[in-house]
Symmetry: C2
Subunit: 455 residues, 2 copies
């Protein structure tokens, strides 16, 4: 019989707080009849965000093509029908395995999307369609980690997919600390310090990972920051992992998303390998359950690309519907096409609502004595710093918040934070009708909890 | 820049022949305008097998629920609508992340399916919904391989998911050779010999893996065989991995599928951990692209189950539509429900066609001098032994077959075979209109090729 003790250390030590013990407790409370508001995970449709009609209409037709003939005229706009027909003509339908890399026509569409976004060319053969961005990140890390001395530089705070996967693959975490006092920006100095500390431990950093816009921080990098990371990577001989799944989630007028690919090409850098990731789960689609995404590689030699293909092939291919959702993300209705007006309306409603909620959360939290929240400039999270009485951890805090209010957030310890500080991550996703109340309950809880524990 | 030489040995050494170099060459030929018949992979819908209407209708409604109101009466049978409504009421819809283990209502349905199939109880909390069976197999192997001395006993020939994953996870392959002369059955003697050989290499076998019905062999185990494996595992302190994805694909009247779970329970074995796998990709659904499946655990301690949940959680969850396809597999229309007649008709047509094709392939190959093919008793493959002139490998043979006929099969070397023998694996999936011609072309090729090379 298999015993817990027999399981490898790497598996046992991997941690993933976003779905950890506090979430397990939340599910238990829910089964007991308590109402829980899940602010632990960026799962928009579970909190009432509506899917984009364009995406769902096309998928429904591809799944059941008889509808093309059987549905009454007007049920499906012409461009939806044409897109479904194109997908069916370009594939064996969603029931067949796709190429290991993913449908070729979708990879071509991704390349066109990157071209339209950044004005740079992109090679469909260096694009891999993945089950969400997570699997793309894992594929890149699998290649970069050959042994326990191979280090991956990750931001602190970070999204725990990175720490969990690096632990699982037996590599070394090389943390670099984002500057909370500078809106979570990063600096060359911070990167150098982390690099040197790793070298002193006899770790060989292999890659630097950047999440932009930031999860859990909500920070957005500017072009100079992106350029600085690329310069650093080039001088230190590192690859870059660019987690850009929140590229459509930039909230402040002064900010804009700058892709690593665009800066790499503008600077004509040919000696830094770039792995960048995108997903259908975030942005305005919020199609988390469909597990769609892509990995784009630049300056990655052919034999290394072949290894990624091989890794993909071992479990055959990414799921077909996720690949199609990725297609519908990168190839939306165009102005003048019949689906365009509704698509635009839904898209801007989702984004404007999120923008408003980002402000409500940021302002509401900052109004609480003992809570300090940086700008929620991008992504779907706030990561406020909380002042706690001595001896109280952010784990204690988040558990008490859950028990007393039903609000489920994740302790800062799950993402990493500067020693001696405490934080939590909350999403900005509760519905407009509830978000003010959620923030108010957190505020009231904070005051009561810190008073009680501090006494 | 990342270099091929920097990639870990485990990644570089993992091999997956089903999608290896011969398939790459086939795709190249296809791009040049040649017609290729892909017999390399069990991908029924790519060769014209129709999806089951029930599955696709429900998924279409779940993806675009407005159709429930908008489609004209009669487009969707009542039970399809009711099932879609049930799914939507039991979840946040397919756009939201599910629980890490998978939708609870689907896991409950899987438990009921196992109960109905075997008359034994099953615990939904020990069931994990996975992206195809592959990911379930990988989760179990991840737990069982803690270091390079941990061995996994796999059949030879085997499905290369196993060898590739064991290599990737840094474990040791412990091959046991199925008896080609006894219709690919296995014997206690064969298992013991393999076990002892591993111990002599200082390998500690942790689990024995069985594929039943067999891939690539087409063999079907009887109850005595299953019982023997369980006895062996118990005496040797091993876990059992039971790959049962072809459980609906049993072709001969004298055979029937016997699950490991049923024998474990009948014998009241409590000290052998069993991991069994099922999939929506095979059987009569053939929904490969949707990547749905499940892993059921028995006699696995709670803390070990928690580790599987954690591994699943790192990439959030299996894709939602694959989970729903699994639901529709285990909870089909029942007699008296409106979808039942069509479902039954489609199901039996697919299975009867496959049964006929299994015979056509087996007989056709056996009629060729120099080809010997065991009974295609189950699954979707034939794995004939071929007599080759000295110095000619099955790789050479399969490449020449592809170049000369456009038929793409996989060399026996990709699955493992007794030294000095040569085989290939072909699926039985080409359409009825083509299957006789495919077998005839293989026969003609074989005669011409061996004559030419032998001369």
């Amino acid at each position: 019989m298999i015993r817990y003790e027999d399981i490898g250390r790497q598996v046992r030590e991997a941690e993933y707080a976003v779905r950890g013990p506090i979430v397990a407790r939340a599910q238990e409370l829910e089964r007991q009849g308590r109402k829980v508001i899940y602010c632990n995970i960026g799962n928009p449709q579970s909190l009432g965000q509506k899917p984009i009609t364009w995406v769902r209409q096309v998928i429904a037709l591809v799944e059941y093509p008889e509808l093309i003939e059987r549905a009454p005229a007007g049920t499906f706009p012409e461009d939806v029908v044409a897109t479904a027909r194109h997908i069916l003509a370009s594939s064996y339908g969603p029931g067949a395995y796709t190429e290991s890399k993913g449908y070729r026509f979708v990879r071509e569409a991704v390349a066109e999307y990157i071209h339209a976004r950044d004005g740079i060319s992109s090679d469909p053969e260096a694009i891999f369609l993945t089950d969400g961005a997570s699997k793309g990140v894992q594929a890149a890390l699998r290649l970069l980690i050959a042994g326990e001395r191979d280090g991956i530089m990750i931001p602190i705070p970070q999204y725990p997919l990175y720490s969990a996967t690096i632990t699982l693959y037996g590599g070394a975490l090389v943390p670099y600390h984002l500057l909370e006092n500078a809106q979570w920006k990063l600096s060359r100095e911070v990167l150098e310090k982390a690099y040197e500390a790793a070298r002193a431990r006899d770790i060989r950093p292999r890659a630097v990972c950047v999440i932009n816009p930031g999860n859990p921080t909500g920070g957005v990098l500017d072009e100079r920051n992106v350029e600085m990371v690329i310069d650093f990577a080039r001088e230190r001989g590192l690859s870059v992992l660019a987690d850009e799944v929140y590229q459509a989630n930039v909230w402040l007028a002064g900010d804009r998303f700058v892709s690593f690919a665009s800066v790499l090409e503008r600077k004509k850098v040919r000696d830094v390998s770039l792995f960048s990731f995108h997903s259908v789960s975030k942005g305005f689609l919020g199609e988390c359950g469909h597990r769609g995404g892509y990995l784009e590689c630049r300056n990655v030699p052919g034999p290394v690309l072949d290894e990624i293909t091989k890794l993909q092939s071992i479990s055959l291919c990414a799921n077909s519907v996720g690949q199609l959702a990725t297609y519908l993300l990168v190839r939306p209705p165009r102005r003048g096409e019949p689906s365009f007006p509704l698509y635009e309306k839904e898209r801007s409603e989702v984004l404007e609502t999120l923008r408003t909620k980002a402000q409500i959360v940021e302002r509401g939290l900052n109004a609480v004595p003992g809570i300090q929240c940086n700008r929620v400039a991008g992504a779907m999270y706030a990561f406020p710093k909380i002042q706690l009485p001595p001896g109280v951890t952010d784990d204690d805090y988040c558990l008490a918040l859950l028990e007393e209010t039903g609000i489920c957030v994740v302790p800062g310890s799950g993402f990493g934070q500067d020693p001696g500080t405490a934080h939590f991550r909350t999403t900005i996703l509760p519905p407009m009708s509830e978000i003010e109340a959620v923030v108010k309950r957190i505020a009231e809880f904070h005051v009561a909890f810190t008073r009680r524990k501090g006494a």
